[in-house]
Symmetry: C2
């Protein structure tokens, strides 16, 4: 069997074990057994537990961002792009719960080098969402446009909400990817629409 | 000086060093020096680096949840409660950026025991927000009420968005707590209002 194929089998097994047991408790013995290879071969190909974990994070981060990009057609209206992007995101996290656990939880709970790998993926997703929000703001033809900072804040809020919802959906029986996407779409799209129409929520009068 | 006072000085110094340097890079020497005590005294009071870090997480998690609760008057209208709660949250995270870094980043990136401490705080905040969203849903007098699951999803989205915005606001020059609260209030309150009035965002017709 070619090395590339064997390596993917090792990563498949590792994502499952890391995602379910956690990074600390995961054993290289168990990963090798699940992959159907010897432990020395895992070390030969991936060097160390750290090297294996890093390879898992990179592969799954790429898979997630590619799934979102593949779900979106940039020639469609921007609300449709957001909806399709959210559906692709929640479908991917629901279909790959171990990968999501590795990316969102495990990679952030075991030291800075792993956390930095995931931070790079997050930056890419925030840029992607920022572009959508900026287009939506432009299309609303407001003058002045929604400030750049407000667009950035909106994108950060949306990405944080999506991360939180994906984790909750995977932990909650019977919540589908479509329901999670619909909840977030309703929360954020209505909010964005109101903002762009100038319907800001106004703090009570007389407040400092 | 009484032990309780000395201990708080150690925790003040530790939160600052852990928040700025990260848990791994933080040195007990530097923490002791900043606290103006000897290193053996830090070990005598807090046992270990792990013990000191755990004490920091507990103190700061309590301070953050108390700040949010203290900011909210439950006899006021629910939108005002949400606004006041968000303002209290972002004001606290802005005034204590090192504490926020410890809670949101450091405590989650260095193993499960620390992460579990923060997860308990998060559960409490999600419950608090869920109650507000449920009241808002009841006040809208819809029949049937917003489903329990939709309320829970909404609260998860809101808390995730708040975490993400707090981190972004602290890393971005010139974003005030009030601006962050206002962005999130506009995103979520309009979304909640639309949902309750039955204005769901509808996926394009003909979609599977």
């Amino acid at each position: 069997m070619p090395r590339a194929v064997r390596e993917q089998q090792m990563l498949d097994a590792a994502v499952q074990i890391f995602g379910q047991r956690g990074y600390m408790a995961a054993s290289m013995d168990e990963i090798a057994e699940l992959a159907g290879v010897s432990k020395p071969l895992v070390y030969l190909y991936l060097n160390s537990k750290e090297g294996l974990f890093t390879a898992c994070i990179r592969r799954e981060a790429t898979a997630l961002t590619e799934a979102v990009r593949a779900g979106v057609r940039t020639d469609l209206p921007v609300d449709r792009q957001l909806w399709d992007g959210l559906q692709a995101f929640f479908a991917h996290t629901a279909e790959h719960p171990d990968a999501w656990s590795v990316l969102h939880l495990q990679a952030r709970t075991h030291g800075e080098p792993f956390a930095a790998e995931v931070a790079a993926m997050r930056t890419e997703i925030v840029s992607f969402v920022t572009r959508l929000v900026a287009i939506a703001a432009r299309e609303a033809h407001r003058d002045p446009d929604l400030a750049e900072r407000e667009v950035a804040g909106f994108a950060e809020a949306l990405v944080g909400a999506a991360e939180s919802l994906a984790t909750w959906a995977n932990a909650t029986e019977g919540v589908t990817a479509r329901q999670a996407a619909s909840t977030l779409m309703n929360v954020t799209w209505s909010g964005l629409g109101s903002l762009m129409r100038g319907h800001h929520w106004v703090p009570p009068a007389g407040e400092d």
